[in-house]
């Protein structure tokens, strides 16, 4: 058996220089909360079909291009045809499709009962070229296994015997690698993995006329279903975010060596979120994620979305076309996403620290086919004019239930986001009531702080 293959792992942690604060924050979306909210998030789209693995990585690197370097451990030597630069727009597409969403309903008029409320998706969206400088082909126990240019990147595939040799080699060849990298590189060398090393070919990048660096895509075969995130933590200051989309045929993907948790979702929140200047849906979702990640002490992998790519309900954006999926590497789709083997997308969001994620992420594809989404619901109350009401009794019952519901929505919002409940009440125009002792006990059991709810 080919030892490289047997022990080979997969790839994907960028050992890029810590990106200067990405300025990807280009405004909020009313209807969805996409990954752009999380400024420093690395974005990876992974395709897994048996042992075939395709990894797409988006780089938000904003520093000097001449200083950019990326090192990714890969299970075997990749040929030039295994490496591509897919369109950056594919990431925006899959992000928009799978983003947490806000659904909006209108209460029927209790004075004139009509069929069930029609669901409606909340509307709008706002929118040193150095290959020739490589020293001897074998130095410090490092072998250059392959070398080529793809798009704006000069790429070398390295084999190494010693991690400090590899670190020295990279430094001597002008790659800006964080100090102390050798300790993190060592486990991959032990497993006889190769290193995919990229830097920007400044001429090629200038010719392309692109503002941002193109994403990188590489394909390989490996029995390991995992994503090395440890290399990216060398210079980490504070928690880092990773948004990972996994495209599979059979079922939902979850981590096997960390807890995978569905974010609290499918709850009703106060309708003012749609129009408020500061408590926007984007701000709500960001606060919710911050709060939940903190509550779980940055130890879990969150599921944000799992759905069959052939449809959505409600749609935050149209599903990806067969061509777009094929460009990402899911090439089992031909012609129509509703025919043949499905493309299932699991969207995972991890906020990790070096202490809480000591191991690379390992995954499994479960048999779970239950679609799931982070969807939040606004229910606009009906306008009731008791003087002109035909059915006063039903209208009064509705109004009594409405005030309970408004209070419940306020408490849900406070508990999910950790926002001050008084601020929420005044924005939502709801008078405060205290929680019952039983409700407080329940929230306490669930680890939800109660003090800001029933103050």
């Amino acid at each position: 058996m080919n030892r490289n293959h047997a022990l080979g792992a997969l790839a994907a942690a960028a050992l890029a220089l810590p990106a200067a604060n990405a300025a990807a924050f280009c405004g909020f979306y009313v209807g969805k909360a996409d990954a752009a909210l999380f400024n420093d998030a690395s974005k990876v789209v992974m395709v897994r079909d048996g042992e075939r693995t395709v990894i797409n990585m988006l780089n938000d690197y904003q520093g000097e291009l001449s200083e950019f370097a990326m090192v990714v451990p890969v299970p075997h030597v990749l040929n030039k045809e295994d490496v591509k630069t897919p369109f950056r727009a594919l990431f925006d597409r899959i992000d928009a499709y799978s983003a947490p969403r806000l659904a909006e309903y209108y209460d029927p008029d209790p004075c004139h009962p009509v069929p069930a409320a029609e669901m409606k998706m909340s509307a709008g969206r706002m929118a040193s070229n150095a290959t020739s400088d490589l020293r001897a082909r074998e130095e410090h126990g490092v072998t250059v296994e392959a070398q080529y240019t793809v798009g704006p990147y000069d790429i070398v595939i390295l084999g190494a015997e010693q991690s400090d040799g590899l670190e020295t080699w990279l430094h001597e060849n002008g790659y800006r690698i964080p100090r102390g990298a050798s300790k993190a590189l060592a486990p991959y060398i032990r497993q006889q993995m190769k290193f995919f090393v990229a830097r920007v070919n400044l001429d090629a990048h200038a010719k392309s006329g692109e503002r941002f660096l193109a994403p990188l895509q590489f394909s390989f075969r490996s029995e390991k279903f995992m994503l090395p995130i440890r290399l990216g933590m060398i210079n980490a200051r504070g928690p880092q975010d990773l948004v990972l989309w996994v495209l599979t045929k059979k079922g939902r993907v979850e981590a096997t060596n960390y807890r995978t948790v569905k974010l609290p979702a499918n709850v009703e929140i106060p309708p003012y979120i749609k129009v408020d200047a500061t408590h926007t849906f984007g701000a709500f979702y960001k606060a919710l994620f911050d709060e939940q990640a903190k509550r779980e002490q940055h130890r879990v992998v969150f599921t944000e979305y799992f759905w069959n790519m052939a449809w959505c309900d409600p749609c935050a954006a149209n599903p990806l076309s067969a061509q777009e999926l094929a460009n990402l590497g899911a090439d089992w789709v031909r012609g129509d996403t509703r025919r043949g083997a499905p493309v299932l997308v699991t969207r995972l969001h991890v906020r990790y620290t070096p202490e809480t994620f000591p191991e690379d992420l390992a995954f499994q594809e479960t048999a779970d086919r239950q679609n799931w989404q982070t969807r939040y619901v606004l229910r606009h109350p009906a306008k009731v004019d008791l003087d002109k009401c035909v059915n006063t009794e039903s209208a009064q019952r509705y109004l009594a239930r409405l005030s309970e519901r408004k209070e419940r929505e306020v408490q849900t919002l406070a508990s999910l986001t950790g926002w001050d409940i008084h601020g929420i009440r005044s924005r939502a125009g709801v008078e405060g009531t205290d929680l019952s002792p039983l409700a407080r006990l329940w929230r306490w059991l669930q680890g939800t702080p109660t003090q800001n709810i029933a103050k």
Partner: protein, 284 residues
């Protein structure tokens, strides 16, 4: 203090067992297991995203207990109750996940029937929970096991309770669980050292609820392991080695469960080579 001195002191100075201690010592160890598994299941369902539905649990218990009743009645067995079947139903509920309602009851019915049918030398061959999970994974569509679902805090709590249980000497023949943990953790530690990884990786691997559950509630089932102590240690070493290879050389998930299943046929062989006294649940 030397072990000899300690033993001698123990023999001379041990206080007479109180009535309460005698009563606890007389309890069936499966009651302790059931209490532990029920607490684990309750905690998991209430505070963890166990994605297990009440109907699935109810169907699992109904099918499992009915199968046990039919089996006991059909074979005319006396002094066979429902404790083991309860342990199996709890185990399946804690471990198995499914996206339909029929996977849990079917797995429970099949694995508890197998207990009455697949017998060698008066012992059933497979641990029923283990068999149920393997069957569901291999044959039934829409079934899976979530090894990462526990979280480190719950795992640490499990360590405390499981080790506490040993200290209280509640479940006999836990030696196999400890021997398994010894071998398996040694293999994990050697791997971490060989890779040059941080020891936090090892600590993280220790915090696996699936590992603890396996060591203290699955491999330590006294009815499906070799009868003699030395044979149990050999068996534990075999299961640990296969599980390690399964997980870290072949990279296939659910290594512990598959390894125990594949090693189970070795038990009759070990019992023949190293015979020992068969276990009975009831304390004498």
């Amino acid at each position: 203090m030397t072990p000899v001195a300690s033993d001698a002191a123990g023999q001379r100075g041990a206080p007479p067992p109180t009535a309460l201690r005698r009563r606890i010592a007389g309890l069936d160890p499966r009651l302790v297991q059931i209490a532990f598994l029920a607490a684990l299941l309750g905690t998991g369902v209430l505070t963890r995203d166990f994605s297990l539905r009440i109907e699935q649990m109810a169907a699992c218990f109904a099918a499992g207990l009915a199968t046990q009743a039919i089996g006991v009645h059909a074979l005319g067995l006396r002094r066979v109750g429902y404790l083991s079947a309860l342990v199996t139903c709890f185990g399946l509920s804690v471990l198995l996940r499914a996206d339909s309602l029929w996977v849990h009851p079917l797995a429970a019915a099949v694995c508890l029937s197998a207990k009455f049918v697949l017998r060698v030398n008066g012992k059933h061959l497979f641990n029923p929970t283990n068999l149920g999970v393997v069957l569901a994974l291999a044959v039934l569509p829409g079934a899976w096991v979530s090894p990462g679902q526990w979280g480190s805090d719950l795992a640490i709590a499990c360590w405390a309770v499981a080790l506490g249980g040993i200290v209280a000497r509640r479940a006999r023949r836990l030696d196999i669980g400890l021997a398994f943990l010894g071998f398996y953790l040694l293999e994990l530690a050697l791997r971490v050292a060989w890779l040059g990884q941080s020891w936090n990786v090892f600590l993280h691997q220790l915090q696996s609820g699936a590992l603890i559950l396996f060591a203290f509630f699955m491999i330590s089932d006294p009815m499906t392991i070799p009868s003699r102590g030395a044979a149990r240690v050999v068996f534990a070493a075999g299961v640990a080695l296969l599980a390690f290879v399964w997980q870290y050389v072949l990279y296939i998930p659910n290594a512990l469960i598959w390894s125990l299943f594949l090693c189970a046929p070795l038990v009759p062989l070990l019992d023949r080579l190293l015979p020992g006294e068969m276990y009975t649940w009831r304390a004498r």
